[in-house]
Amino acid sequence: MFGTGDKAHRAWIESQGHSYIELLLAQTTEAGNKSYEILSDLIEKAQDKL
Amino acid sequence: MEKHILRLKVNGDEYEVYIHPKTLLAEVIRDHLGLTGTKRGCDTVSCGACTVNVEGKSVKSCSVLAIQCEGLEVTTVEGLEVNGKLSQIQRAFLDNGSYQCGFCTPGMLMSSTAFLSELEGKKPSEEEIRESIEGNVCRCTGYNSIVRAIDAVAQGKYKEE
């Protein structure tokens, strides 16, 4: 979940080659739920690796 | 700049204070006489929290030079209660819940008191009652409970037999 205090998530998202803040702002400046979809893809990929 | 001796009567008592002529009536009442019932809520003669009655007429004591009240009779909220007995409008405020935080209440009571005394028994319209407290801001009550209290007194509901 996005939100302040998510330093760990933030770092992890950056490490996946995405800009946390860009995703964050895309979520409210663009229609739909794109950022969360990107995020869930990243998480799924990460889980597959495990 | 020279100070002046000011003599005035507040709530029936003679006072003598030594003040700069620029001193406001509100400052004499609160700071020199220690009558802190009278409040202050703005610097623009807008809120009416400092309302007191001079010669029975309501004024905003933050917009009156104290020295202009030389020899005049001033009434503050502390002067409404006589020997522990509350005035009609004070009792009406209690019954109608006409106050919340209470900071505007002294000013409201003084405006109401002056208005009611000027009525000389005449029954005011609701519009007249609302205009009588037009110079007083209340942020808590929405005024209607105050209007009800003034009306109740004007209707004679608090007359002593």
């Binding site: 939100g3 205090g5 739920n33 | 623009t44 942020r139 929405g142």
Partner: protein, 761 residues
Amino acid sequence: MSHAKYSVINTPVHNIDGIAKVTGRATYTFDVTLPGMLHGKILRSPHPHAKIINIDATRAMELSGVKIVVTGKDTLGIKQGIWRRYEELCDEQVLPLEKVRYIGEPVAAVAAITEEIAEAALDLIDVEYEVLPAVYEPLEAIKKEAPTIHEGVERNVNVTRHIEWGDVDEAFEEADYIREDWFKCSGQAHMCMETRAAVSSFTPEGKLTCWASTQSAYYTQGLLAGVLGLREGDVRVLAPYVGGGFGGKFELDAAMFCSAVMSMKLHKPVKVIFTREEDFIASKRRTPMFYYVRTGMKKDGTFCARESRMFSNGGAYTGMGATALYLSGFFHSFPYKWRGYRYDGYRVYTNTLPSTSMRGFGAPQAMFCSEQQIDWMCADLGLDPFEVRRKNGHTEGYEVPGQAFIASCGLEQCINEIEKWVKAKGKMPPNRGIGISSCGFMSGGIFNWFDSPYSFSSAVVTINVDGTVELHVGCQDIGQGSNTTMAIIAAETLGVKMEDIKVHSGDTTHCPADLGAWGSRQTLMAGNAVKMACEDAKKQLLEFAYAEMGINIVYDLDIKDRWVHIVARPERGLDYFELVKKVLRAKDGQRVVGRGYYTPHRKGMISPAYSYMMQAVDAEIDPETGRIKIHEVMTAHDCGQPINPLGLIGQLEGAASMALGYAYLEDMPFEDGKLMNPNLVDYKVIKAPEMPPTGIIEIDTYEPEGPYGAKEAGEGLTNPTAAALGNAVYNALGIQMKELPITPERILKALREKKEQEAQK
């Protein structure tokens, strides 16, 4: 659960502080004078964004009568905030060290033997600034090229909040009609009649006493201790009478902080009172919000989904804004059932006056957008707005997915009552219309961002030998009458009369900790604590009464109107005062003490209970000048069991005046970061002639979690009004007002645009 017959609850009583307030005896922080007291004044930034290069107080110190000048360098420089649990949200140094972030921000404070000398000294403090580029609007502040207001905060995004349930996109697909709108909600000043005020007295034994105009003596104690490096127990906060709060007085303010810092250095009492202008430019405000609202509805009026995005102007610091961001998004879904709901809220830093909580806590903005759009959609689809609201409204037992459980809900009755009232009014004359709006609100928040280790509310009740009762509560009376409400609950529970109860509050030394007056929490939370404490004390009395009366243990005993008796045989009993005397003797002379506390558990994420209401506003507009006249406001209201009927009416009428002001009069326009109306001449608060008659229809419900079935009453009533007025204007003139406040000029502009559109057709 059925209603018991109450002897005190819901009967008209005078507020217990009434006499003090109508005779001028009530002493506010504004009135406090201590021996040897000095007067403090605050130097404020003229720049919206600037580095502080140097502050030179030499000339000020030379002025006779000046005792001290302090700057950030004289403080511990601790960044503080009321979201104590989250370090990065503690972003405000009350006296900043490096830079200022809004016009009016404190940069230095001075104490002198008179207020006049202190004020004169301000002009003699030389501050060297390096002015930085500034940004004032959230949608500007998130741009790449925007200046950084807080180092390390990317794109000035302060807090974000995402709320989502159901499959939103799927739910939208089921909609026959989808509508999108943008709304702009303005800020609003709390405009408490008593400006921010504090008197601090630090003594050599290391103890600080602070009289403060605060909504929570406990928060003030904790925050002061934090920034001053003192133990909480060494800070005593006194708040006997508070001249209004409305959400603006439970953070640490510059009056508290600067008076305390100077008093600690001088070991003398220091008083700091904000001028009205300071109160306007530097004491935070209602959060301005931009709302994008997309709602999907079926032809028959069934709600499918809502997707909303909100940008709020956070101003320079966090304050309570983080909470407003969450609550706005949550109540934006209220009071309806959505298959899919998604909210993304963004709080953005700007170089303006910080925004924070204010009566309604983000909900009035949310409702202004939601309730107007619903009416417009009903009109677009030819549906009845009452019917649609009934169809989709919350009901008892409903669970807001993953968020909240609704144990009591009188929404449908509210809608029915207002519908009756509106229909009875019949057809409106030209240029006059009635608008409706429904909403709900919380009864206290289940948030502990302050990270308090104490129960949310606590109470201690002590019964003296003569039967009089000392009730110690931490909840704060700021004029809403909580002390009276607590006394009523205590008298009802103990079975005594109001005049037997003495309430002690607003003193952190003698009263138990309590989160204080915010989020409509006190009636439910403090009320439960008081009820528990009184039941504890009562139990001790009744245990003795059993023995004393030597009755069969199957009997129930109770106390009512000072008569201790067998419930089944009310005539058999003994006098309360006699019983108390005996109990004391039996307890080796100890007074009877009862303790109570309340912390919500297993009640979801937001609040233990929710109030519901529908409001109708009858307004007339002069189509040539755009001037609005409000004829009447009628509200149907479910607040559970009313405790203090007189107080309830006062809350309704007060909320209406404040919310009407927000709807069509009050605004806080800034130019280059400067507030353009920081005085009561240019800032328009409703006065008696503008105030319409207001009526209330009480809807009877029982809230199992509330004391005697009570829940919130007063704050939530601020929520529906702006929307209801907007809908009234729509019904009167057919124009859609998407910006607050609804001014004459905006009305005429909308009318012109409407004419043009009709001409094109």
